[in-house]
Symmetry: C2
Subunit: 475 residues, 2 copies
């Protein structure tokens, strides 16, 4: 290059750096705004194509205080967790940029190329399609996703291996495949073309161009303002309200056998859960005072606290609101045993719908998002059991008043509960829609009428036994 | 019991529940106040003494939305992480109550009782003393710690094992020792008496009394208002300011060998770090514009982003401020490779001291807290290398102005940097005190004069090589 060309290259670099920094600050300023966004960059590619160098160069061009780089060597899929599980903890908050050097595609390739048990094409494509659906859900929930593949020809790769210090080759081999094996290289290239059509492909041949193109791709992604639909395209079709939500039988007199039956069932539930090596997730929703706490108490009766986790879900904190609404649930699903939720991700289509915390477009989209989420869990050896505890409106009033007049139960009843009661019909409608759209084969709803508390507890335990058995039979 | 006794027991229970709930709410109301507090309850004890039942009962008496229960089976100590590492992520935020069913004492007992390599008494006692020091640090930083041991006599334990369903015995054995082995039982009791003198001992014999005493202990802990010293007892002895912070040589002309030397050293550093199986933590502090970013860039020059993590530390977020100041660093020390900090936990004794974000008592206490923290890391196969980058005040002004006049570097300089510059002498004094109190054999400070940028980068790399070698030689 002559002096002039060099000068202009330097100028371009400085301009790119400036543009990136400005775009970073603009991104940060979207925090808590209606156009809020974060950006996650999935980086994968051929070894020695210069991914690492490009990320390092990027770090020098941007304000490094606001660029997070997470790097993992690829790990083989674990059948007991969805592909997104190792990563969701690092989903960036509004305003943040995160580079995932190592991501679910890297894991998929590693799993597919694994010598002892390669994946067949059908399963591979199914993973791709699940990953894309998950990324679309992220995008819809304000996490923009940019995917960058660093490519390198076989010839250049061999040349770079030749030129390398042998001590480093050793290390590089640790992170991947045998890059001297042409057949493996070809297989990898063939596999990756099954998913990289929506990726930015960066040629690793020329270092400067590579770094520049990578940064430019990020700049474009930062500047991209996703258009979020503000209004639903179609008028919403309200589902009919099931009779079980409105028609209640008069509670029976105490059944003489109740205690014995309860004891038997709590023991059976504990045994069934213990001898099941799948994860179990039990989710409770329902009207206030319908007895969620009491039902949970009976489920864990014969279990030890080391065998379960109970999450009582309240309104999200600010740092949670800056991420997709499922984020705070993803992180609560790490346990290998039983996880019980007292209120759940269905808040999106219940309280958030009714109170207007989610837009019409958002809550209407959430049914499919939640179904995908639950399907992912179900495919990862997780049994999902969802309960809606139904109660008669008059009976609720009786229980509210009883709580108010019992000092140590008064905390269970607040002004907000009475306000929610005023929206009784809205909750019935939201529940009806929820059943219509999320009662799936892999995660069915059990609607339990709780006017008769004792009967309800028995039914909850029986439902758990039934679902554990049903899922096992179809496995 | 006659009817009257039963009634009075029920009344007492209701009163206890009410008291607990009120204490919970009072705790929550301390959030963000000067008397803010959280409570962590360590639960350990003999199997079948009823720990699980007592925790379950507690959950029924309190408002379960604000009680977090974390339960882990004991795990053996991992020599590469401090005993607190698996737990710190769960240190409660102000206003929260957390029960740790399974904790570092359980891990210690499991490790000590482990058949193949039991711990000797000296090491055991050293762990105890480290644990107590760590708990005291938690308490000083507003996390109150209550320790509860559930005890049970050998005779009662055997009786309960006899009465158990055999299927459950199997499960219980999983979580611990062979509870049919009297010798093991005796060893365990002997070991635990080495540390339980500051524990609440709860006799597991009588179920009701056990649950009541456990809840009562928690109530007392909740009501306990730790007295935090507001004023330091003694006048602070300011350390003399080392010459290296104030006396600078004139930068030399560019050394013709600089590039070759830099290249050689970056390669040596990468090799040394790679072939070292310890963790490496590199911490940077120093005046603004002293070249932290540039030094970090050279350290990682020959490394791949999958081999290191860089954390650029900014002001803490609100959810971080609700926990001990070390909390946000604990969670950033999980990596097995190299972790680099651009600004560190020393913010406590630098900016927080100078700006008054930490009280006099707090920053003066922090030196010992930080030393313990670093000692724990150092004892866990972690090499700590700490840099202070020093710069001449005039040279800083030159660099500030250069930043201001370079568009893509302008983000590096803000009003705040100029304000900090006005406090130059305060920072010198704080740095001098920091060296005086935290320059330890296991985590020494390297003070690097950076007026000559090139020389400084060379010195940083050499210091890393030196420290890696020094630590290895003493291991």
């Amino acid at each position: 290059m002559d002096t002039e060309t060099i000068d202009s290259a330097v100028l371009n670099e400085e301009q790119l750096s400036l543009d990136l920094i400005e775009a970073q600050y603009a991104l940060m300023n979207t925090r808590d705004q209606s156009n809020a966004k974060s950006l996650v960059i999935l980086v994968s590619g051929i070894e020695l194509a210069g991914k690492g160098e490009a990320v390092k160069q990027l770090r020098e061009w941007v304000d490094p205080r606001f660029l997070y780089v997470k790097a993992d060597p690829p790990h083989l899929f674990n059948l007991k967790q969805p592909f997104w599980q190792p990563y969701t903890r690092f989903v960036p908050a509004e305003g943040q940029i995160m580079v995932w050097f190592g991501n679910w595609y890297g894991d998929l390739l590693a799993t597919a190329m694994h010598a002892s048990k390669p994946l067949d094409d059908t399963l591979f494509d199914e993973y791709i399609s699940n990953m894309r659906a998950f990324e679309q859900d992220l995008k819809n929930n304000n996490v923009d996703v940019l995917k960058v593949w660093f490519d390198l020809s076989w010839k250049s790769l061999q040349k770079r291996l030749d030129d390398m210090d042998p001590s480093e080759v050793h290390w590089h081999k640790l992170h991947g495949l045998d890059w001297r094996n042409k057949k493996q290289y070809d297989t990898l290239q063939k596999l990756r073309t099954r998913f990289t059509d929506d990726w930015q492909i960066i040629d690793g041949e020329d270092e400067d161009l590579r770094n520049h193109n990578f940064a430019q791709a990020i700049l474009t992604a930062l500047r991209h303002c996703p258009e979020h639909e503000k209004k639903a395209a179609l008028k919403w079709q309200q589902a009919p309200i099931p009779d079980i939500l409105t028609q209640f039988e008069v509670p029976q007199a105490e059944d003489a056998n109740y205690k014995a039956e309860l004891k038997k069932l709590t023991k059976q539930v504990a045994d069934a859960i213990r001898c099941d090596d799948r994860k179990v997730v039990i989710a409770f929703e329902g009207m206030d005072a319908a007895g969620k706490g009491g039902a949970i108490k009976r489920i864990v009766k014969k279990l030890d606290p080391r065998e379960y986790e109970i999450h009582t879900i309240a309104a999200p904190e600010k740092y949670e609101l800056r991420r997709p609404y499922l984020w705070r649930f993803w992180s609560k699903l790490q346990s290998d045993d039983i996880t019980i939720f007292d209120r759940t991700w269905y808040g999106r289509v219940l309280v958030e719908r009714i109170e207007g915390f989610a837009t019409e477009v958002e809550w209407q989209r959430a049914y499919a998002e939640i179904n995908r989420f639950e399907k992912n869990l179900s495919n990862s050896q997780t049994v999902l059991i969802k309960f809606w505890l139904a109660i008669d409106k008059d009976e609720q009033a009786v229980r509210f008043k009883a709580r108010e007049s019992t000092p140590h139960k008064r905390f269970k009843i607040t002004e907000e509960d009475w306000r929610n009661r005023d929206k009784w019909d809205d909750y019935l409608k939201a529940a009806a829609d929820m059943f219509a759209h999320t009662d799936t084969g892999y995660a069915p709803w059990y609607i339990i009428s709780t006017n008769d508390k004792q009967q309800a507890r028995i039914e909850v335990l029986r439902a758990i036994l039934k679902q554990l058995k049903a899922d096992r039979d179809t496995d």
